[in-house]
């Protein structure tokens, strides 16, 4: 059983169809039709198409792809903000699709947290309350909330801003709040959906450094979504390439750079090389 235990998250044959004609689409997909053909025939959008992958404990796993490749949809399956049309999702060996609502809430409160592209912060709460949100929701005492929140606010370099409101902060600072909020809950898994994509390049590099720095001591399992190969190469232990909701390639940064699986991956790699020269 040890190899199973090593996989923190396992995604097995997950399909996600948006639209009302799910069953019809599923048979079409099993017959091997492409995303565009399905859209033309049924009007349904295929978000994720027969995708399987496993993510190891303590690694930074990057999911890459162009917009529309299904990467944001996929990551929302891992905490069930979106439910798959079919397939299995195992976290620590448990199929999270079997959870009822209370069990799912416990899972979200204690095991998995998330950082969003548009931050998703509460505009009517100050920085301290925002960072403490995950703790407050799971019913921890006020003292505990404040203490943990203050700790993580200083860890992401925002001390002195505890009482500030989100509107008063810059984009980079807002995302530090988002990161602190996710870290404060001390979950094993952190999902980061294009967390740094809305930031300008310098701030983005700074945030990447900070994340790597934190990760050195925390050893969380981080699932990081991006459309930027430079970012993926910089922070990922392994990278998964997604296209039209299908997995094209999984590998270490080196494997992706040295042996791209197809033209799609090759194009990303070439752009990366061109930029280096």
């Amino acid at each position: 059983m040890t190899p199973v235990a090593l996989d923190k998250i396992e995604v097995r044959n997950v399909f996600k169809v948006f639209g009302s004609r799910e069953k019809e689409v599923m048979t079409l997909l099993r017959e091997g039709l492409k995303k565009e053909q399905v859209l033309a025939q049924t009007g349904c959008v295929v978000g994720v198409n027969d995708l399987s992958l496993s993510i190891r404990a303590g690694e930074v796993f990057v999911i890459m792809g162009l917009s529309g490749s299904g990467k944001s949809t996929l990551v929302r399956h891992l905490n069930r903000l979106i439910d798959p049309t079919s397939g299995q999702i195992l976290v620590d060996g448990e199929n999270i699709l079997d959870y009822d609502m209370p069990a799912l809430r416990q899972f979200r409160r204690h095991k998995i947290s998330m950082v969003f592209q548009g931050f998703g912060l509460l505009p009517h709460r100050n920085v301290l309350e925002n960072v403490a949100y995950g703790l407050k929701v799971r019913g921890e005492s006020k003292g505990q909330c404040n203490e943990r929140a203050r700790h993580w606010i200083s860890m992401v370099g925002l001390q002195g801003y505890e009482q500030a409101f989100v509107q008063q902060l810059s984009g980079g600072m807002r995302q530090r709040v988002g990161l602190a909020r996710a870290l404060a809950t001390d979950t094993d898994i952190i999902l980061m959906d294009e967390a740094f994509s809305a930031l300008d390049p310098l701030i983005r590099a700074e945030m990447q450094d900070q994340l790597l720095e934190l990760q050195r001591t925390l050893e969380k399992t981080i699932v990081f979504i991006t459309h930027d190969l430079d970012e993926a190469l910089r922070i990922g232990n392994r990278i998964a390439m997604l296209k039209d909701g299908q997995l094209i390639q999984v590998g270490t940064p080196q494997e992706i750079l040295l042996s791209p699986a197809d033209d799609y991956v090759e194009r990303f790699v070439q752009r990366h090389r061109a930029r280096l020269i």
């Binding site: 905490n79 903000l81 799912l104 809430r105 416990q106 899972f107 979200r108 409160r109 998995i112 947290s113 998330m114 969003f116 592209q117 548009g118 931050f119 998703g120 912060l121 509460l122 505009p123 009517h124 100050n126 949100y133 995950g134 929701v137 799971r138 409101f165 509107q167 008063q168 909020r181 809950t185 999902l191």
Partner: protein
């Protein structure tokens, strides 16, 4: 001419229905009516027993708390003083009591219905045309059955006012909740907030400007029903307008009309000020 054999009338049916309602459930309605009347009369007595200067001080304090501006507060107090100065203080208090009860009932009905409408598209689809009807149906049409059930006086006036005044609150509560940022909702969901925590911790606070705009609209519409309310026996400022019309006393009608406007302005300023959000949102 429209062909005779294609016409029909629902009047007979509706009449039978209302008759049955009155004879079978009259007691229930009488009971509701008594309870409501008790609330209105107590509030009215309280407002009328309060010395005028204390009342002005209370309104001034609320005005200051809401607007944080000296000028607005003075204006609010000054306008109310003016109403007292033309001898309409007592009637102002009667109208205020009626309006407050109608507003409280509207809020108790409107906000929960708005929350339900925001949760279910189907319910919303049913509710919206009903709200249109409530807002456009001439109030005399539903006043007839309401009068049959509750008799003349303050209670049917409250009912007519609530029917007319509650739709904007339902609409704006629904709108406010639906406009809460999708990503914020996703985020609090991802941290495991239960429906209760979502609604009271995030959705309602973020929808508050919209809900306050709804309450503002509700109070304004309630005031616009004052004259109709006085036609079915509710006392207050509307009564003076009515008497003004009946006796061709333009001056008296105008005084009472202006007093209604002043009450509207005062309530409008206060509720609008509460609707504006703080937390440094206005940059």
């Amino acid at each position: 001419m429209f062909p005779e054999n294609l016409t029909f009338s629902i009047a007979g049916w509706v009449n039978d229905g209302v008759d049955a309602l009155v004879s079978n459930y009259g007691d229930v309605f009488r009971h509701i009516s008594d309870t409501l009347l008790w609330a209105i009369i107590n509030l009215e007595t309280l407002l009328r027993l309060t010395p005028w200067w204390l009342m002005l001080a209370i309104v001034g304090a609320i005005g200051w708390h809401a607007t944080r501006k000296i000028l607005s507060t003075l204006l609010i107090v000054g306008l109310l003083f003016l109403v007292g100065a033309v001898g309409l203080w007592d009637k102002l208090m009667q109208t205020l009591a009626l309006m407050m009860v109608a507003t409280v009932i509207s809020v108790l009905l409107g906000i929960p219905l708005g929350i339900l409408a925001a949760r279910s598209n189907r319910l919303r689809a049913v509710m919206m045309p009903l709200l249109d009807i409530m807002q456009t149906m001439p109030s005399f049409v539903y006043l007839i059955p309401v009068l049959m059930l509750f008799g003349l006086g303050k209670v049917p006036a409250i009912f007519a006012t609530v029917i007319y005044a509650v739709p904007p609150l339902i609409r704006l509560t629904d709108l406010g909740l639906r406009q809460v940022d999708r990503e914020v909702m996703e985020a609090i969901n991802a941290f495991g907030a239960n429906p209760w925590q979502q609604l009271f911790g995030v959705q309602l606070p973020l929808a508050m400007p919209s809900i306050m705009a709804g309450i503002n609209q509700t109070t304004m519409m309630a005031l616009s029903m004052v004259v109709i309310a006085s036609m079915i026996g509710a006392r207050g400022l509307g009564e003076d307008v009515l008497v003004g019309i009946q006796t061709l006393n333009v001056g008296k009608g105008l005084e009472a009309g202006l007093a209604i406007v002043i009450l509207a302005v005062v309530i409008d300023r206060i509720t609008q000020a509460y609707g504006r959000t703080r937390h440094g949102e206005q940059k």
